[in-house]
Amino acid sequence: MQQALVTYAVRLADDALIYGQRVSEWCSNAPTLEEDLALVNVTLDYIGRARMFYEYASSYSGLSEDTYAFTRDGRDFTNLLICELPNGDFANTLVRQYLLDEYEALFLGVLSSSSDDTLALIAQKSLKETTYHLRRSHEWVLRLGMGTDESHARACTALDALWGYTPEIFAMDDIESGLAAENIAPDRLALLGPWRENVARTLQSAGLPVPADSWQVEGGRRGIHTEHLGHLLAEMQVMQRTYPGLQW
């Protein structure tokens, strides 16, 4: 059970770290100064979330959070593939944020009452952040969908490009099923229905079509990643790889 808990905490930490690192690439590149601050605020919430989950894993494994973040190779990372995909354009970034926020809101809501006290506390803190993230990304999906022809088209393109990565979010395996049986982890399968309902309602309000379920990929939880993760890790890990143990 303890090994499963460490694996689980690292999965959640990897999701948050890789996604936070990816979206932080917008820093100094957003379309306006205000949006720059807003985007980076969100990424900092994710980095904070990653640290809490790594720290919890550390309490069992003895490995430091820096060891988890900076010394593992791509195959050791267990984040969802959607977290590592390049940001693409602004519409792609905010549509992905929205799809993830709807998931996080449901997921953290259940994890908040986990029988594991630490996971429950991390979820309660994170849920407040996600409630705000969702408010923001939901507004952006409406604005993109009902904005100009170009913003609408870009939002459609983003949905089509991201949709096949969403089934992985709700996939269960033996580790998570075991933890779910102990009321430690949420049953992701049970979140899929509500997620699809919420997303469909928003897309309808935004005048955007729900994409067809014509393809899907998975593999992140097993360390099988897209070609994009290695480049992200190279940039994120270069200092610790070059000067191992470097302290600021």
Binding site: L33, E34, E139
Partner: protein, 95 residues
């Protein structure tokens, strides 16, 4: 950075209940909701706020520098209008 041509909004933050909203700055945003969200992200990220107002800058009516002589000079030399001679009770910190 692209000038998206968004309207300007003035931001007011109340740091805690019981105090007034204080003008802290301005920002550009397309609509009221995004102005409120940007105000949150720009001006309250270090825990400064308990309440936020955003007001379209174009909705503010301002006095002009050229009005100063007629508006403010007549207030000079009227010390009896100041409450400076009252002693404040202990515990009144914001007067």
């Amino acid at each position: 950075m692209v000038d998206a041509g968004f309207p300007l909004w003035e931001v007011f933050v109340r740091s805690k209940r019981g105090l007034d909203h204080i003008h802290v700055g301005s920002l550009h945003a397309a609509d009221a909701e995004s102005a409120l969200e940007y105000a949150r992200d720009t001006y309250t990220r270090r825990g400064e706020g308990a309440s936020l107002w955003v007001v379209k800058s174009s909705d503010i009516v301002a006095s002009q520098e050229s009005d100063a002589e007629s508006f403010y000079d007549p207030m000079d030399a009227k010390p009896y209008r100041h409450a400076a001679n009252y002693e404040l009770p202990d515990g009144v910190d914001n007067m």
